[in-house]
Structure formats: structure tokens, C-alpha cells
């Protein structure tokens, strides 16, 4: 197991290095340089040049051969833009926003809690509704209920998330007035932050009123974000259940005279859960990219909204840092899913 873990971790390294290379390359291709962007188009050329030197933008992109040749010290080859970016990354220094000058690592720390709360709520919704729906569809295979559930699941992956979000705001906030349309808390409310997840934090502080307010803000973004994973969970649960229900041990359980309920819940569902758990973990990625759209519509102050604002403002260090963070999270979660899978199912060889 340890060897397997190490091998998987090592396998991650070249991919993550590739990701940094790609992001670095893409952000350096962008027309205009960060110094001009920071100082504005009409800044004096000598100021721009000084800032370029300060930021190290006058160095070569990958290998600083001129300097190494000049000084004769071969390690000076690494005095390039990419390697100083990488050494910053290793110290968790992602640079600063061009506009606010806030360190990017700090913004990520603040904003990730908001995204994490939203993602958890969306996943909880997807599992709470998707699992029973999938089981129902499988046990009533070929009936109207099955067809209806499968058609709804298909619709779930066919909606543009941002459109669904807008329609929800229109129905539940504008027309019915049941739920707040945006943000995480009503004006005048505040949370003593512990984890950064408002519902949890306010419960920890014993503020039920604040918790309810935060939960009301959370409902619509979570439902909108949860639709795609919901559809995936339904489809996966149904197909895994159908697979298991056809197995010999289920026939044995039935022939022993067990109630259908017991057969489904104990004998079938337990065994069907494995692929479902995997797919739940893997749809974390679709949640992270979906969060960008959902958070944009609901003004949810998470990573997605932050990256979106950075794109609109051409704040490249933020785009770079935010996207890199999401890619790393995605890789780590996928690794964890594989590990859990290997832990749950002893049949899997760690090779």
C-alpha cells in the first residue's frame, strides 16, 4: 500500500510540472506585459522598464544562458522567469494580484472555504437525491418511474448550469421571494469565522439565526451546482444496481426467502456502492469548474467568482494562481478517490 501510494504521488509530479509549464507559457504569451498592465498604457517608458526589472521580467523565460556565460556559475542558468516562478510555488508564494496587491495564496485561503462549503452542499444534495432515485430506477427497471428518472437524469447533464441558476433566481427570489438571490449572508449579519464555512461556523458559535440565514443563501447555488453530479450519481447507481441485482448471490438471497427490501438494501446496495463512491469523488472536478459559473451568477465569493473577476480585469497572476490551485485540487482529489477505492475493495491490486 505504501509503495502504491508513493508510486501514485511520484506519477503526479510530471503532470503537475506540465501544468505549471502550460499555465506559465499561456500567461506569458498574452499580448502586453504585466508591467504595462500594472502601470497603465500611458505610463512613462522608463517607469515601465524599472518595474520590469523589479519584477524580473527582463530575464529569459526558461534558461538564463547569457548570465551563466558571464558569471561562469552554471546555476545562474536557473535565474530565469520560469524557475523563479517555480521556486516561488515551492514556497507557496503565488505572487500578488496586479490590482489589489493582495498575495494570491492569502486570497485562496479566504476564498476556498466558500467554494468548499458550496461544493459540499452540492454533493450532499446530489447523493441524497441521486442514490435513492438510482436504486428506485434499477428496482423498477423498464417501468414509467424508471424512464422518468432516466429522462430527468439526462436533462440534468444537458442544462447550462448558469442558465439554471438564473431561472432559479427568477422563480425563487424575484417571483416567490423565498430565497435571497446572491451572496452568503444578509446585510447586517456576521459570522465569527472558524472554518470559513458559514453554516458550520455559526452553528459552532450557537447562532442559529445566522446559520439559517447562511443556509438560505446556500440552497440555490448548491442546487444549481449539484444538478450535473446528481444526474451522474443517478445513472451510475442505476447501472451498478442492475449489475449487482443480476448476480448469483442476489438470487441466493432471494431464494433464501429474504424480503425484497433486505435483498436490495443489504445485499445489492452495499456492493453497488463502490463504483458510485468513485463517481462521486470523480465528479468533484465537474463541481470545481461548475463552481466558476455558479459562483459568478450568485455572487458567491469563492475561487470561481475570484477567477472570473480576474479574467474580466486581466489580472494574470490571479488567473494563473487560481487555475493552478484548482488543477492541483483536482489531481489530489482524484488520487484520494483511487486510494479509497483501493482501501474499500481488497480485490484491487496495487500495481
Amino acid at each position: 500500500m505504501t509503495a502504491y501510494l508513493l508510486r501514485r504521488l511520484l506519477g503526479l509530479v510530471p503532470v503537475l510540472v506540465g501544468v505549471t509549464l502550460l499555465i506559465f507559457f499561456l500567461t506569458r504569451v498574452i499580448p502586453g506585459d504585466p508591467a504595462t498592465a500594472m502601470l497603465g498604457q500611458r505610463a512613462a517608458p522608463n517607469l515601465v522598464q524599472r518595474l520590469r526589472t523589479d519584477l524580473g521580467l527582463d530575464r529569459p523565460l526558461f534558461l538564463n544562458l547569457p548570465k551563466a556565460r558571464e558569471t561562469g556559475v552554471w546555476t545562474d542558468v536557473l535565474d530565469s522567469q520560469y524557475f523563479s516562478y517555480m521556486s516561488g510555488l515551492l514556497r507557496l508564494d503565488l505572487g500578488r494580484s496586479i490590482y489589489t496587491l493582495i498575495p494570491i495564496a492569502e486570497s485562496i485561503r479566504h476564498r476556498f472555504a466558500a467554494t468548499f462549503e458550496l461544493t459540499l452542499a452540492a454533493m450532499a444534495f446530489a447523493v441524497a437525491v441521486g442514490l435513492p432515485a438510482g436504486v428506485l430506477a434499477a428496482t423498477r427497471r423498464g417501468t414509467v418511474a424508471d424512464t422518468a428518472i432516466m429522462l430527468l437524469a439526462l436533462s440534468g447533464v444537458s442544462f447550462p448550469v448558469f442558465w439554471l441558476a438564473i431561472i432559479m433566481i427568477y422563480v425563487f427570489s424575484v417571483t416567490l421571494g423565498w430565497l435571497p438571490p446572491s451572496g452568503r449572508l444578509s446585510i447586517g449579519m456576521s459570522v465569527d469565522q472558524v472554518t470559513g464555512m458559514y453554516v458550520l461556523d455559526s452553528l459552532l458559535r450557537g447562532r442559529l439565526d445566522v446559520a439559517i440565514d447562511a443556509a438560505r443563501h446556500l440552497v440555490m447555488p448548491a442546487l444549481a451546482l449539484g444538478t450535473i453530479p446528481l444526474a451522474i450519481v443517478v445513472r451510475m447507481t442505476r447501472s451498478a444496481m442492475l449489475d449487482v441485482l443480476g448476480q448469483d448471490y442476489v438470487r441466493t438471497a432471494r431464494s433464501k426467502g429474504l424480503s425484497e427490501r433486505r435483498v436490495v438494501r443489504v445485499h445489492a446496495l452495499r456492493n453497488a456502492l463502490l463504483p458510485v463512491v468513485t463517481v462521486i469523488g470523480l465528479s468533484f472536478g465537474s463541481l470545481l469548474s461548475g463552481a466558476l459559473l455558479t459562483e459568478t451568477v450568485f455572487s458567491w465569493p469563492g475561487i470561481g467568482r475570484w477567477v472570473y473577476d480576474a479574467i474580466a480585469a486581466r489580472d494574470y497572476p490571479v488567473i494563473q494562481g487560481g487555475v493552478l490551485f484548482v488543477a492541483v485540487m483536482f489531481a489530489v482529489v482524484n488520487l484520494l478517490v483511487d486510494m479509497t477505492y483501493a482501501l474499500i475493495d481488497p480485490r484491487i491490486q496495487y500495481s
Binding site: G18, L154, W163, V297, V323, V326, A327
Partner: protein
């Protein structure tokens, strides 16, 4: 006894077309697949007919008297803040979404197939390199890489198309590579090689036909994804630019007005939903038909 000669005489003609004919026969018994085919056909036909039946020039379209007019018998889908008829725009938007969706997927499929063939067939360092590249692309969830690419290249429809195509290349590379790896060791390919067929001949005769059905299924399902991605980029302001009647961009415009004119966002959204459902139904049905083992997957 009399069965044997009959089987011998019938066998060649049945074998020659059994897979395709069988697939077609099964497809036409597939209710949801037919619904999908109908929806996709509908969108294709109206998109092709749009310039004939209702010529449209987005750059000149404005009618301030009809500003934010609600849906009516005259304007089925209402009008936007420039008084532009939303029905015409949604109709012509289909041309953009279908074209970009098809082109992006075609580009991804061709690039992915070539990379997959090279990777599986040449092997060695080239295989390692291509798999590494694909893993990098797959490290970005969903539309995220497309967003970064467009933010770099500059926001417009062509760059959105390129970006979406890039994110889809690994899907095809993986399919083709795995088919090459499994086919390469089979006896009929070994035999073909032993008989002196060159590599290219083996690829075209044996590898591509074996990759065909997973590729077709992936193609159909990817068009739906591509349409959703184009709309997402448009909605974020990173795809089509005003005044193009692109569905995602129309929803973006509608979002700023949705207290006064909800129809501006509702109808383009329904159009996206229907076209994507169409391609998904069609793709699921083709998968069922081409590979009955996967029917309940």
C-alpha cells in the same frame, strides 16, 4: 441436414453487411434514439434554412421602438434592450452553436486520432510524451482550460472553438491509443505484418475500423458538451462577441435585464437545453446500438 447448404450460400452476403445493417435495424427500434435523431435533425434543418427563410444581419439589427417588448404573436420570444427580435436571434444562434460544436469536435477527433495512432503505434518516448501531454490537458477540470486558453488568445468565437477542441483531444487520443494497443498484438495484425503489410496499411485496414464505434459514440456525445462549453464561454464574455446572436452571450445580456425582460434569457437557454438533449439521446442510442453489452451502462 438441409440447413447446411442454405447457411453456406447465405453467409457471405449476411456477413458483409451484418454489423451496419443490424445496427440500423436496432436503432430504428430505439425510441429515445429516434427522439434524439428528430431533435438533432430539426436543429440542423432549421439552421441550414435560416439564411433562406429569414436573412439576418446582426450588425444592423436594432429597433428601439420594440425595446424589451415581451413575447407576443408578432415577436414569439420578445425583444431585447435594442429591440432585436429574440426569435430570429435564437434561430440564427443555432447556426453558431452547431457550427462551432461540429468544428470543435471534428478538429479534436482528427487531432486526437492522429496522436492516438502515433502514440500506440510508434510507442517508446513518443508514447510517453503524448500520454504526458494528454494528462496535462486532463488535469484541468471541465471548461477551465478552455477559459485560460481564451483568456490568453483573446476572447472571440474562433479562439473559443480552438480552446474547446483542445480540451477534447485527449478523449479521442485515449480511445484510439487503447484500440491500437489491443489490436497490435492480435493474431490478424501479426499475420498481416508477417505477410508484409506496411504499418500504414495495417492502421487503415485494422486499427481504424476497430476504433470506429467508440469514436462515433464519443463524437455524438462530445457535440453536446461542446455546445454547452461554447455557451459557457459566451456567457462569461469569453466566446462570441456582440452583436453575434450566440446563445450563451444572449443569456449574458439577458442576465443584466432579467428583472425587466426574463424572456431574454429563458429562450436561448431552452434552445441550448434542447439541442444538447438531442445529441445526448442520439449518442446514448448509438452506443446501445453499436455495443449491446453497454446497454445499461
Amino acid at each position: 441436414m438441409s440447413d447446411v447448404p442454405a447457411a453456406v450460400t447465405v453467409a457471405p452476403s449476411v456477413r458483409g453487411r451484418s454489423l451496419a445493417a443490424d445496427a440500423f435495424r436496432r436503432f430504428f427500434k430505439h425510441p429515445t434514439g429516434l427522439v434524439g435523431l428528430f431533435i438533432v435533425g430539426f436543429f440542423v434543418v432549421i439552421s441550414l434554412l435560416a439564411p433562406v427563410l429569414k436573412p439576418y444581419d446582426a450588425a444592423r439589427d436594432r429597433d428601439l421602438r420594440a425595446r424589451l417588448a415581451p413575447p407576443s404573436a408578432e415577436r414569439w420570444f420578445g425583444a431585447d434592450e435594442l429591440g432585436r427580435d429574440q426569435f430570429t436571434r435564437v434561430w440564427h444562434g443555432g447556426r453558431i452553436s452547431l457550427r462551432v460544436g461540429l468544428l470543435a469536435v471534428a478538429f479534436a477527433a482528427v487531432t486526437g486520432t492522429v496522436l492516438g495512432l502515433a502514440s500506440g503505434y510508434v510507442g517508446g518516448w513518443l508514447d510517453t510524451f503524448i500520454v504526458w501531454l494528454m494528462d496535462i490537458v486532463l488535469a484541468f477540470p471541465g471548461v477551465l482550460l478552455a477559459i485560460v486558453i481564451v483568456a490568453t488568445l483573446g476572447p472571440n468565437l474562433t479562439n473559443a472553438l480552438i480552446a474547446i477542441a483542445v480540451t477534447q483531444v485527449p478523449l479521442y487520443t485515449r480511445i484510439v491509443r487503447s484500440v491500437v494497443l489491443s489490436v497490435r498484438e492480435t493474431e490478424f495484425v501479426q499475420a498481416a505484418k508477417a505477410l508484409g503489410s506496411n504499418s500504414l496499411g495495417v492502421v487503415f485496414k485494422h486499427v481504424l475500423p476497430n476504433s470506429l464505434s467508440p469514436l462515433i459514440v464519443q463524437l455524438t456525445l462530445s457535440i453536446g458538451t461542446a455546445i454547452l462549453d461554447v455557451a459557457a464561454l459566451g456567457f462569461l464574455g469569453l466566446g462570441a462577441q456582440p452583436p453575434q446572436p450566440e446563445w450563451g452571450l444572449m443569456i449574458r445580456d439577458g442576465f443584466t435585464q432579467f428583472l425587466r425582460a426574463p424572456w431574454m434569457s429563458i429562450f436561448p437557454g431552452i434552445a441550448i437545453f434542447l439541442s444538447v438533449v438531442g445529441f445526448n439521446l442520439l449518442g446514448d442510442a448509438i452506443r446501445d446500438v453499436l455495443d449491446p453489452r453497454l446497454r445499461d451502462a
